[in-house]
Subunit: 239 residues, 2 copies
């Protein structure tokens, strides 16, 4: 992900300069919306109620966000930016080069960053799973957050010491994102304290994933790797 | 799946005896509900409206189904039974023993059987994706339909000529069901005519799956197979 230029940063991301007033208003509206979505449910919260609760005019709220869906997109973008900020040091600095360790760190950081939104996610999940919704991760509106998430996995990979089949390397960040989505769905359904079951699942699957990737260099698996690559670009990531 | 005894068969399944009157009433209520769900949406359809439209008393409707959720469970069960009836000959009789061919046949049969419900599935999907809902495939209420679906994959496997690692064989039907769920989600989102993209995806992934399974016997992959088996029983199928 590129560094967000000052003035467009979604809210207070650690390590970015203090945002100007318009950004503070935008962040306030977003935070108010998130709170109301959680308290009243997404379906029952109106733009009018969000504006009132945030102490801004309805026109002002619409100036920043075209509607409720865009507020959720704002939430996706913020979550992606917070995640990126949390793992930046590990991804770019001299962090561990072991792929399993890198993947585990990044996934655990996501669970930490997303922790305040767990309840919201559970009640919200069904909207994102609606194929007709712009809130689906595959909708055009979600592309920026999707790209940000995938680019984190590009950096997990590029800073690691793993050697993978060249053809696989092309689609690996997308495969890793799909793994992340699987974990996210598990996390949404997870009612264990502090979602510790999801944490254990990540601790188990990150090394397994790295192990499977190391196998991809074997000639025996070459045709399978090629077929997976083609399937992904033909059926899933056609953008 | 066991043969449904007469009198408990969910509606008119080909190859089963003509159901008694109570079963006809049950099927009528179920069909009416499905139609109303499709026409008015699941959320807006009441038990009262279903009873009225089916020409039965509200009390009678509740005699057969405890509520709307149970009607959807009835739909799941019916879909599973129709699917089973459609593939019975292939699974038990002298059908193709090639695993890829068997899997392709079973998956294509599912798409054919589910065709009339595609629109309903699209509008309904978000309810099934709600973790709190009894309509989730992992809810206790869904276990009969889940068991029926998994047992179809047991028969896909047991009649095939494939030799797989013994440890993998234990969890393979569950893995194949997860593959089916992936295809179902793709199908829900698929807007191509007659969901032909999903059909092509099945035609590509069924042979790929069989190919991956054949590899599972290699000693090299043994630890990975073992770990996948343990993860499935620890994190997903704890019943």
């Amino acid at each position: 992900m590129e560094e967000a230029p000052p003035g467009t940063a979604p809210g207070a991301i650690p390590g970015t300069p203090r945002p100007p007033k318009s950004e503070q208003t935008r962040a306030l509206i977003l935070e108010t919306a998130m709170r109301l979505f959680e308290e009243r449910g997404y379906d029952k919260t109106t733009m009018r109620a969000i504006a009132k609760e945030a102490g801004v005019s309805v026109g002002n709220a619409y100036y920043y966000f075209d509607g409720k869906e865009h507020l959720v997109q704002g939430f996706y973008d913020r979550l992606a930016a917070e995640h990126e900020a949390a793992v930046r040091g590990i991804l770019d600095g001299g962090g561990d080069r072991d792929l399993a360790a890198r993947l585990l760190t990044v996934m655990t950081a996501w669970i930490d960053v997303a922790r305040p939104y767990h309840q919201f996610a559970a009640q919200f999940f069904k909207n994102a799973a609606d194929p007709a919704s712009p809130l689906s991760p595959f909708s055009p509106e979600s592309h920026p957050a999707l790209d940000a998430a995938i680019s984190i996995h590009e950096r997990v990979l590029s800073g690691s010491d793993i050697k993978v089949d060249a053809e696989l390397a092309e689609v690996l960040p997308e495969l890793m994102w799909m793994y992340q989505m699987g974990i996210v769905v598990y996390w949404v359904f997870d009612h264990s304290p502090d979602t510790e079951r999801t944490r254990r699942l990540v601790a188990r699957t990150a090394p397994l994933g790295a192990r499977i990737l190391r196998l991809s260099r074997y000639r025996l698996l070459r045709p399978i790797v090629r077929e997976i690559r083609e399937l992904l670009s033909e059926f899933l990531f056609r953008r």
